[in-house]
């Protein structure tokens, strides 16, 4: 039903061993006088599952939003799959990306939001097929078939015709995950996807995400407070504070043996609340 995807010819070209899937190059992002990201440099390889942790305001969500082109960089360049995302090539130079360029690049990235953001005026099936039909140009039947596969994976096959308002928060979020995956993105961004859910509903959503991680090789960037989930799914953890990477490493190392003071303090505070 849901198989591990074979790398396509496209992906081969763009994602070689040396070419990172995501690269932030000296990225600066500020809101007014508040500098949220301060000359940030980091890479994410294809197939990586990276969890971003850190206090609020440390810039984690901003990184996701920049990747999803919901914000523009003030300085620096964001690269996706070897191509510039925040900019485009004009001759030999790099200029800020045009809307056309952004729209082309965006198709490779999917995002699941904290507040689901399903379209309330459409039912579940319509939510899932809207973008594949109107952006990827798939036929309605193709899109519906794929939608059914995804609904089955997230455990909501019987909710095809339901409206978002008839679903619980956890169900809505699972539909949102399916909606993002329906676009077959190379990168999946998860922005605190369980923070707005009642505790009983969190587990189902995390299970779906574990399944996604196990059955695909999609690159995932996760912002979350769910440390157990992070440990299960990610191969890298990055600790952020005030727009800079404070520490990084594998989940086991970071959670059991944090080296930096700030990391330790943060983990103590979060794990105490769990």
């Amino acid at each position: 039903m849901f198989e591990k995807r074979e790398p396509t010819a496209e992906t081969d070209e763009e994602v070689s061993a040396a070419e990172p899937m995501i690269r932030f190059e000296k990225v600066v992002k500020q809101f007014g006088s508040n500098v949220v990201l301060d000359h940030l440099d980091f890479d994410v390889a294809a197939g990586d599952r990276v969890t971003l942790i850190g206090p609020s305001g440390s810039g984690k969500t901003t990184i996701l939003r920049l990747l999803m082109t919901l914000e523009k960089v003030n300085d620096g360049v964001v690269w996706v799959g070897g191509e510039p995302l925040s900019h485009e090539h004009k001759g030999r130079k790099l200029v800020p990306a045009s809307e056309k360029h952004l729209r082309r690049m965006r198709k490779r990235i999917g995002m699941v939001f904290q507040h689901f953001n399903l379209f309330p005026n459409m039912n579940v099936m319509e939510n899932l097929t809207e973008a594949p039909v109107h952006v990827l140009g798939r036929s309605k039947s193709e899109a519906q078939e794929r939608a059914r596969e995804l609904l089955s994976m997230v455990g909501l096959s019987d909710k095809e015709k339901a409206h978002p308002t008839q679903l619980s928060g956890g169900q809505q979020q699972r539909v949102a995950i399916a909606r993002a995956l329906a676009m077959d993105p190379d990168i999946l961004l998860l922005d605190e996807v369980t923070s707005a859910l009642d505790p009983e509903l969190v587990a189902d959503v995390l299970d779906v995400l574990r399944r996604v991680a196990d059955t695909t090789d999609i690159t995932m960037l996760i912002v979350t407070h769910e440390m157990n989930f992070a440990r299960d799914v990610s191969n890298r953890v990055l600790m952020f504070d005030r727009g800079r990477i404070v520490e990084e490493g594998s989940p086991e190392r970071i959670f059991t043996d944090p080296r930096e003071e700030r990391t330790r303090k943060f983990l103590d505070a979060v794990l105490a609340g769990e």
């Binding site: 999803m68 939001f113 379209f119 005026n121």
Partner: protein
């Protein structure tokens, strides 16, 4: 002319008033269609066009909204003698009210949560599709009651067209009153017809409002 109500005179007045009412209704319906369509255009344009253009459109709309309909009617009526008074009346009424509708649509669009815009962007939906499939269905649904209320307002404002000699219902009443010495009957009937037409409609709209919440 006396202050005593004469049912005879009232009965005579009625058909004349109803003839005028046809014009009133026509002006309301056509004016409303124009206002609703143009208002939507203005609201969407202000949200999507570059700042300079949208500010200019906004300024013109404000100016029209805040100056008297009567003066606008007279203005266009004198400037364009080649059109009939009714045509001018409908268009000016429609344009005047489109500026109100634009505000109503704007509020509806602003009320759509920003997450909807972001989700559409995340899915790479092109702007036209975003407006058509995501934003407008949600925005318009919210403001249908307000639009309905403005339709009722327009209906009650059609008498302003009398200033450019459109024989709508109140003009008919006044003319009948003058020629048949029966201002009391004709004007009272005119008022009652307005009341009977607008009050139940307003109630219906209020009920619609309650049923439309998501």
């Amino acid at each position: 002319m006396s202050a005593n109500w004469s049912w005879e005179r009232a009965w005579e007045a009625l058909p004349v008033l109803l003839e005028g009412f046809k014009i009133t209704l026509l002006a309301t319906v056509l004016g409303f269609v124009l206002a609703a369509a143009l208002g939507l255009l203005i609201a969407v344009a202000r949200r999507s066009l570059p700042k300079v253009v949208s500010t200019a459109i906004g300024a013109v709309a404000q100016f029209i909204r805040l100056t008297p309909l009567v003066v606008q009617l007279l203005f266009v009526y004198y400037m364009l003698p080649q059109f009939t008074a009714l045509q001018i009346g409908i268009v000016v009424l429609g344009v005047h009210y489109s500026t109100y509708m634009a505000e109503v649509y704007r509020a509806g669009i602003d009320a759509v949560p920003v997450g909807q815009w972001e989700a559409a962007r995340a899915l790479s939906l092109p702007p036209v599709r975003t407006w058509r499939a995501v934003i407008l269905p949600q925005a318009v649904r919210r403001v249908v009651p307000a639009l309905g209320n403005y339709a009722v307002s327009m209906f009650k404002d059609t008498p302003f067209l009398f200033t450019i000699s459109v024989v709508e219902m109140v003009t008919a009443a006044q003319q009948f009153g003058a020629s048949h010495f029966s201002y009391l009957e004709s004007l009272t009937l005119a008022g009652l017809i307005f009341l009977v037409a607008s009050y139940p409609t307003s109630l219906l709209i209020r009920r619609l409002e309650r049923r439309l919440a998501y």
